[in-house]
Amino acid sequence: MRVLGVETSCDETGIAIYDSQYGLIGHTLHSQVALHQVHGGVVPELASRDHIRRIVPLIQDLLVQASSPLAELDGIAYTAGPGLIGALLVGASVARSLAMGLNIPAVAVHHMEGHLLAPMLEDDVPEFPFIALLVSGGHTQLMRVDGLGKYHILGESLDDAAGEAFDKTAKLLELAYPGGPALAELAKQGRDGIYQFPRPMTDRPGLDFSFSGLKTFALNTFRKSDGNLHSDAAKLQNRADIAYAFQQAVVSTLAIKCKRALQQTGLLRLVVAGGVSANQALREKLRALAASLNAQVYYPRHEFCTDNGAMIAYAGCQRLLAGESDGLEINARARWPLNQA
């Protein structure tokens, strides 16, 4: 079965073709980072306007590039949520209508299901059941995954998502948007032991997260220290030290909860997905954790950690193979709990 995947939930237009027999046939992506950079964050209306300009040419290019004409498609999958409603509607309207015109089934895919199944696109595929840590700018969730559509939320962030905390802390350290990766880069110059940040909610049982306090802690640390420093070099070093301590706190907190989830369930497979799963410090920490528990960690390749069409094509293909398909409604929802997908 050959499926076209369409992702437009935020600021990337992602298109891919996945074939259940041959694997990933091709994928392409347009990132709007440059468009939103000047505004310091994603502007929803500008995102929607860009998606509608790009989506069809991107599909056309991919079909040519992958030598896979429309007539060879057996289904179309699109991200129906959660995300920016206007942006979602662009991908949904084009994808659903294209499927109707081709007389093939369409399926609405949950964005986070796409992320958590993204490691399935790699050679080393995790078997069900496994624990999944989804960490992105919009989500921080720990789930038990027993099979396609069988998602049990073990814990999630009660306030900011991990990636959101990264971006907000980066902003107060005066790093350019998108700040998360810039903060991780700056943290490389940071020194261990200068600042000690708390590990929120690790001193009590449970698998929920809270990251908004860390951002405030970073702000207070910055305010207390920055004014006392007089050289640019010292100020920069101080910021790097804060970035380092902040990142360590987030990464340690995530690792502590992952360890708990693995121990509570007795599972030995951990899937890590979402934009923050590209973070090097997190990967090192989880590698060490896995080694200590004799567990395995699975990641998508770097380019599929962030939003992409390949994960949507893959997830949609599995849904279609399982016999699902939608009616003619064009589905888009800003909010959509994963356990209802």
């Binding site: 929607s48 509608i52 069809v56 509607l89 309207s93 209508s97 109707m100 015109g101 409604e329 064009i330």
Partner: protein
């Protein structure tokens, strides 16, 4: 000639499938349900007319101005269908569709279309009937602050169409009001009127390849600092 047309740009949702001598249309007032309704409507028309997309000559749609989301929905649907069936696209102004409807329903020859654009502004277009009984712009469409609406300077009898005419400020701002004889503030585009305008566009060779048919927002989007 066979044309499918539809509109999701305002509170109404409509689709029409027209051949040379017959026209099937569906129309409903359904704010915020366009995404649920539009494809089933189109499917029902195709079934009713015992016709397939590939039998059509072109697809037309209202590409704005109107609700940003609604205009993009229509554009996405048009692009998806046209891409699949390899059909050309004919984007038609939402304001022109309203004016054309005023001719069909009210025999209006000169139509001042004013659609609420929020933030104390309207989408404005002055349309006049030509010899082919098609509505044509006498001045370019524009987005305009209510207190800066254009003044009429002719002796024609005009009819006001579009929801902005429900706003007394709009009525009083058009200084030469004696030229305006009737108002239809609760009219919305009908897909069958889009078909009439689209036929002429098609004949004039103005059909577009699917990716080229884009929304006409009329309003640039500026980010508040």
């Amino acid at each position: 000639m066979k044309i499918l047309a539809f509109d999701t740009s305002m509170q109404a949702c409509s689709a029409a499938l027209c051949f040379d001598d017959e026209c099937y249309e569906k129309y409903t007032l359904a704010p915020r349900q366009h995404n649920q309704l539009i494809l089933p409507m189109i499917e029902a028309l195709l079934t009713q007319a015992n016709c397939q997309l590939k039998d059509l000559d072109a697809i037309a749609f209202a590409n704005g101005p109107g609700s940003f989301t609604g205009v993009r929905l229509a554009t996405g649907v048009a692009q998806g269908l046209a891409f699949a069936a390899q059909l050309p696209l004919l984007p038609i102004s939402t304001l022109a569709a309203l004016a054309q409807g005023a001719w069909r329903l009210h025999a209006a020859r000169n139509v001042a279309v004013a659609v609420d654009a929020r933030m104390q502004a309207v989408y404005w277009g002055q349309y006049q009937l030509n010899q082919e009984e098609l509505m044509r712009l006498s001045e370019p469409e524009l987005i305009c602050a209510i207190d800066a609406l254009p003044v009429f300077c002719d002796t024609n009898v005009w009819v006001g169409v579009g929801d902005a005419w429900a706003n007394p400020q709009v009525v009083s701002q058009v200084s030469d009001v004696q030229n305006l004889t009737a108002f239809y503030p609760d009219s919305y585009p009908h897909a069958r009127d889009i078909v009439e305008l689209a036929k002429a566009e098609f004949a004039a060779g103005r059909a577009l390849e699917c990716a080229q048919a884009q929304p006409n927002y009329l309003r640039e989007y500026t980010v508040k600092a």
